[in-house]
Structure formats: structure tokens, C-alpha cells
Amino acid sequence: MKRLKAEFTNSLQSKNLQTIKPETRKREFRVNMLRMMIKTFVKFALVAGIFFLHVPSYAAAPELPKDIKWLTNDSDPVFASQEAKRGGTLHAAVMSFPMTFRVVGPDSNGSFRSAILDNHLSLIGIHPNTLNIIPELATYWAFGKDKKTMYFRLNKMARWSDGTPVTAGDFAYSLEFMRSKHIVAPWYNDYYTREIDRVIVFDDYTLAVVATKAEPDLYLKLGIAPTPAHYYGKLDDNFVRKYNWEIVPNTGPYQMSEFVKGKHIIFRRKNDWWGDELKYFKNRFNVEKVIFTVVRDMNMIWEYFKKGKEDEFGLTIPEYWHVKSKTPVIENGYVHKIWFFNDTQQSAMGLWLNQDREIFKDINVRYAFAHAMNVERVIEKVLRNDYFRLEHGFVGYGKYSNESIRARRFDLEKVGYYMRRAGWDRGADGIWGKNGNRFSVEVTYGSEAHTQRLVVLKEEAKKAGVELRLQNLDSTAAFKKFLEKKHDVAWMGWSTSFRPQFWEHFHSANAHKPQTNNITNTDDPEMDKLIDAYRNSLEEEERIKLSVEIQAKIHELGVFVPTFMVPYVRHAYWRWWRFPEIPGTKHSASLFDPFGSMAGGLFWFDEKIYHETKEAMKKGEKLRPVTIINETYKMKSITMKIE
């Protein structure tokens, strides 16, 4: 599952999340990251009484506003299968053992954190297909008139894994916890001070969460997770050390049951999980046990998988899907393949031109550059037509996406047209030149794996008279270089958010200075106007209109050459694993995510097929090889065909 995500965005950006400064990081949450964080925040709340003094809202003996309009959601379609059966064990691989089980504080920002956080539910969830709010710990919610407050009524059934009921105090404690210096997490300290104003506890099961300012899509921020106040008690300087390897009570379906450091971690399904019968959780989280084994090499994981020691293997990488999967276990039908298209926010992957570079100040040159990039050829020849051309930077944001934009295609004539218009000529070496300057730009990137793509791009660009000088840096160093605006062309993808974020990337406020995300140094008054309007609007309709407009404007500026997207997941899995009729959701990042509260845990273990398969294998009997291709949620903008 983790592997998939890494490929899905790209290794550069997932690294960013870990290394960039909190201020920058904040803007780039992907949907699920945001959710994780919310959960984390909410998670820690209250040992009754002791902390009341510190939280002013308690002292005021608050009362609910009279005109509150409670909302819930029990009408959206379920996406789990009624056929699902409980039981079985999922064997998964992780490439490294986590450095700590804490989810805040030093060393906690590892890839394994999500496995823990996924089992920390928060107040509300989001339906993966409709994107509507659905209940999690809170069954009812309401919006305050001030556009800053949300009210929640908790599910009285909700329990911590140690049996303690989840109460409103736990959410107040989350705030206390997250603001505490003892957790050594400055970013969280800051976020929970600047973004969340307070938590108001009306009674054990009723609370309000208040943001510091009015803003759109408030629920994405306020649906925080509780923190087990009864478990942590009063924090002290020992926190970081004391909780390194502690298993903290959670609210989700699984809890870590045992582990051997450096070797494996086992999660077990809770017997009588309070959420079992909830509409959107029913028939989900079916396996009894999830074993994460540490295998430090991808090739080894593949070998283990083929031996049946792992249950699934991500096949998103073309090499695996096309070549390596030509292997007996698959050809004999013991292992099935699935290709599932999703429809989620796509990373803005491509070439970002630095307009502070003299050469890119001329829009003609920028257009010519875009036309000199033979992305199609890379897709066709290197990526085996498995990746898709990204048309613009904000694909997959639903109505917020401008579906009419088409990326500039490789076109030698257009390159010539724009270059000549800019006053350049082709030199003796075939490269465009003007006043002694050659059209030679440095493309900086941070993933060795992308070299393959870039060398093809480079050779093709040469035909167009553009010389690319490839510079492969360590991903951290590459990202640093981009933020310092020292690149000519940055080859990178930004991680996604729930809604398009323009200000960070295209507003002049962030141009020409280091440590901001406007790596194209876009500085356009018109653009600024649009972006400001978009940020200040609280009206969805207006925001959608502006978003579409801004994207057209970005395209017009020609500062970003979009490259690829991977709007699907692919797996190889042993055939005893089964999925619902529609194997995943629009926002499934993996079909074998065992815990994810939004879209995880849909698969189940079929014992009958298991025995049947084992029997067949023992007898050497061949079964029908199966490759499932599910295009239910395939994006309409994808024009390439699948074979």
C-alpha cells in the first residue's frame, strides 16, 4: 500500500512532506493526509477536570445555541460488499521498521505512521465517492452561523480500545495535547494554536470545534480526532521517550497486538468493535490479522510475494505489470491481476519553468519549450502507455478542474514558429541560439528512477533544437534548490490537496523569494486578482468558476509543462482475496489498504478459494489466469486506450 502511494505521487513529493518546513507543508496536504492529521489532533482529549482550568471554554459553562440544525448522512450509497466475510490474515511488507510508534514528536513522520493513524478515527469522515460528510465518531454535526464553528454529537457507542467511552473531553484534550511543549512537535503546536481556536464541551457527548477564522470547506479542518486523556494523563518532559514504543488506545477497527523490532508488526481486529454496524463501516475491515513484515528490498518483496509469503504486490510500475508479472504463479492463475482506475486529485507532475531565468522571460520561448517536450513518446516508449498525459496541474478536483485544457504537444513546427518569433535561430550544432546564448537549460530532478524518462525527453528535445542538461540530485537537495529558485527547469510533482491551491504556487506574493512554492516565479497582476478572489470567496459556485479561470490562465502563461498522471492502482494478489463488485472507490489509493477509514478494508479473505487454490497448487493444476480491469471511475479526460 505504501509502495503504491509512493509511485502514485512520486518519490520526490512524498519526501517533501517529510522535509519541507511546516509552513510550506501545511498547504499541501493530500486529502488523506489532512484527515490523518485531523484525527491525530482530535485524538487526544481530556482527563476530566484536571485541565478544565486551562481551557477557558469550560469555565464559562457553555450552552448550545438554540437554532442549531443537526445534520447526518445515512443516505449515500455504501461501497462495501455484503458478501464480505470476516477472517484471514493479510501479509504485507514494509521496507523499514518505524523509528517510533508515536505519531507526534521526533522521528514520528515515517511512512508507517499512517497505519497507526488510520486506526484513530475522527469526528467525521468523507464519503470516497460522493465526497459528502459521513459519520465517524460523531453521528450528528452542525455548522455555526459564524462560519467558524462546527457542532458535533458523539456516537455514544464509541469506545477506546481499552473499553473507555470516547467523550467530548477527549477532543478538548486533543487541543491541550497538541499545544503542549512536551510532545516536541512545533508544527502541531503552531497549527493547533493558529488554526483551531478552541473546543467547547457542552456535555460528555456534545461539543463544538471553533476555527480561528472563517473559511471555505470548514469541515475539512474541524473534524478533529480525539486523544485518550485517561491514558496520557498529565504530560511531562518524558513524553518523547516514554511513548516511543507504547501502544496507545485507539478508536478504529484494529489495534497493534505484538511486534518484534526490526522484524514485524502485527495488528489484530477488535472483537466487538463499536463501529462494526455503522452504515459506512459495515462489511469492511474484514481480515482478522494484518502482519507487516520488514523486507528492505523491493526485489525481495516481489520474490516473497511469488512464494506466497505476501498476499499482494503493487504492480503500478509498468515493468512489473508487463514484464515481471509473466511468471508462473500468475500464468497458472494462482495470482490474479487487477487494474483499477480511480478518480482522485492528480499530482501536478511536470516541468516547472523558472521565469526569473532570462531565457524563460519570453513567453514564446516557454511555449516553444513546451512543444519541444515529447512527453507522449516517453509515455509510449518508456512507460509502456501505462501512464497518462497530464493535461494540466489540477486534474481530479471534480468541478474545480478545468477539463478543457489540453497540454501543449510535441510539435517541431510550433517550436520553430515560436522560436523564430522570439528572434532565435538554429545554430551549427542544431540548437537554437540568440546573441551567443544557446537554448540549453538545466533540468533538475530528484529521483534516479526518472532518469530513464528524462533521457528520452532530452534526445527528443535535441531534435527540436533544445538542449536539456540533466541534473539528478538527492530529492531533498533538489527540492531545496527549487524552493530557493535556483533551477532553470524543475522536474517535480506537487502533492495534492482536497481543493486546488493556487496562492502558494502562482501568486506574486510568493514570487522571487526563497522558501516559497511559487517555483515558476509567476508574477502576474491579473493572476493575483483571480487568486485573491478565489481565496476570499466562501461561495462554492464562485470558487469553482474562479478555479477554472485560474487554470486557464496558468496554461496561457506556459510556465508549467504537465507530464504524467497515474489515475489508477494495480495489484497482483493471490486469488483467495476478493473485492466488492466495484473493487474500490473513486479515491482508493490502494485496494489492499487494510485500515483506511475513508476507503480501506473493502477486500476479504475467502477460505474456500484458499483451500481450493492450495489444492490446485499442490497438484500442479493450472487455473484460469485472471486480469481484472475496472474502469468504473476512469476519468473522462483520459483519451488513451487500454489494452
Partner: protein, 350 residues
Amino acid sequence: MIIMRLNPLTIKKIKRFKSIRRGFYSFLLLVLMILSSFFAEMLVNSRALIVFYNGNYYFPVYESMNPGVKFGLDYDYETNYRQLQKRFKEEAKGNWVILPPVPYNPYENDLREDRFPPFPPSFAEKHYLGTDNVGRDILARLVYGFRIAIIFSLLLLLFDYGIGISLGSAMGYFGGKFDLFFQRIIEIWSNVPFLYVIIIISSIVVPSFFTLILIMAFFGWIGMTWTIRTVTYKEKAREYVLAARALGASNSRIIFRHIIPNTISVIVTYAPFAVSGGIVALTSLDYLGFGLAPPTPSWGELLQQGWIHMDSWWIGSSVIGAMTITLVTVTFVGEAVREAFDPKMYSTYE
């Protein structure tokens, strides 16, 4: 210089070297490999050796780029001479093209319509060792990669030896505080984890050919310095040095005219191993992705590909084969040199 004059002792050593046939043939093979890599443009190149077009001769190998239009093609970018050759043949107008034996350069992607790289070896397509994962000819990359690696190691050797010999002989000769001081420096230096430093540096800047040599030389000098220091210590105590002093010779005269020429055998003996060391170092760095910037042809990068694409056996086996041949020949040469310089070491008693 004295070193260059053929001392009969040296002649004897050369003779002895020649008589060690394994080493001698390895030496010839190595020299052949190096020389041919220096003329690689004539042997492995996508540019044609000679084009005869409409009564004119063209020699694209050492010319600047010829756009396709020059030969009546419809594009502005560099002529694809392989296609040109085919086209001339079909046209049969008396034009012709002579291509190098391997008609590919190490950068171009020879991509096919219906298949995906890496392509297996094919004589028909003149990919004698197949292609890598983006359709670049492996043989071409091996040859150019070899050239880079060998020049790299030779230059590295020059740097290491330059520092090592001058500092080492000074340390050994003057001894005392000077020696003590540099000994401590070297001790500290040699505890710097060199690979990490390279990794750190190359993650910040993409090292160019020369910066990489400089970085490597930054650490590589230690071994030679240490050796030369020891040898100098030994030589310094010998009577001919005392004799020179008794004659009134100055320190610099003693170092340059007496001691260094007498350490030549050590220097020469270490050289082949230093060369193979340099090749291995560069290859490993490239393998780990901390070496020369892509798309520089590199054995390490090929090795990395070979590891990822194990099914495409020709990638891994080509580069491993090439490495084996190179390292084995260099080692054989090294052994032979050592044996030629110090035959005593190879006697045993029953």
C-alpha cells in the same frame, strides 16, 4: 629525467614483464582497449564515417551537426544516418553512406514501434549487446563508459600520486615534527567516511567529471602518501643517501635525484591496482547514483539497470563481463608488474 632513461635494470624488468605472458598479453589487450576507446567516435557512433551525396563527400564524425535537410531529408535536426543509408540504397542514385561498425551513439534512444526496451542483442539491428531500458546501445555505452572510467582513473592516479609522492617523501625525509603533524592529519583524514562525504557532496551539487576527481583525490592521496613515506624512511636510512650527504648534496637534490627515483618501483607497482581501484570506485558511485550526472555513459548506471532488469540478462551480463575483463586484465598487469619488479617474493621453498 633519470627515470625515463632506460636503465638496464629497467630494461631487465621490462623483459621480465614481457616474459610473464599472462600479464603481458593482458597489458596488450588493455592498451588496445584504451587506444580504441580513444578513437571510439570512429568505431561506435551514430554519425556516419563518410557520406557521399550528390558528388560531395562529408565526414560527419568530426564535423558539427548536419541537419537532415542537407541530405535532402525533411527535417532540421541531426540526420539519422542509418535511415539515410537505407534511403540512399533504395534510391540507388549513386549516393552512399559508410557507418561505423556500431552505428549508435551512447545517448540516442533507438526505440521501436511495436516493442519496449530493453531489447535483446541483435546482429540484424547492430545492437550487438542489446539495448538498455531506454533503447540505448549497450556496447556504445560500455565503450564510452570505459573511456570515461579509464581517463578518470588515470587522472585520479595522477592527482593521488602527485600529492602522495611529494608529501610522502617530504614526510619520510624530514621526519620529526613535520612528519608527526601530517601523520595526525592523515589519521584524522582517514577516519572521515569518504563514501558519505561523496554522497553528501553529490546530493548537493551534481559532481562534474573534474569535481568528482577532486573529491576522490581529496581522500585518495592518503594511501600513496603513507606508502611513499614508509619507503622514503627506508631509503633515507640507506647508505647511498648518506653518501650523497657526505658529498654535500642538498636536501632537494637528495629527494629528487636519489630517493624518488629509488621509490619508482613501488610507485609503478601500485599503479595498475590504483587504476582498477579508480574504475571500481567510479562504477560503484555511479551504481549508487552518486557519480557522474546522467546521461553520461557509465558502467555503474548499467550495472544498476542490470540489477533492476534482471530478466534482461544482456544488460547485467554485458557490464559484468566488461568489468571482469577490464579488472582481470588490470590485475594481471599489476601482478606481472609486481613480479617483474620484485621476483624474489615469488620464490618458495618446498
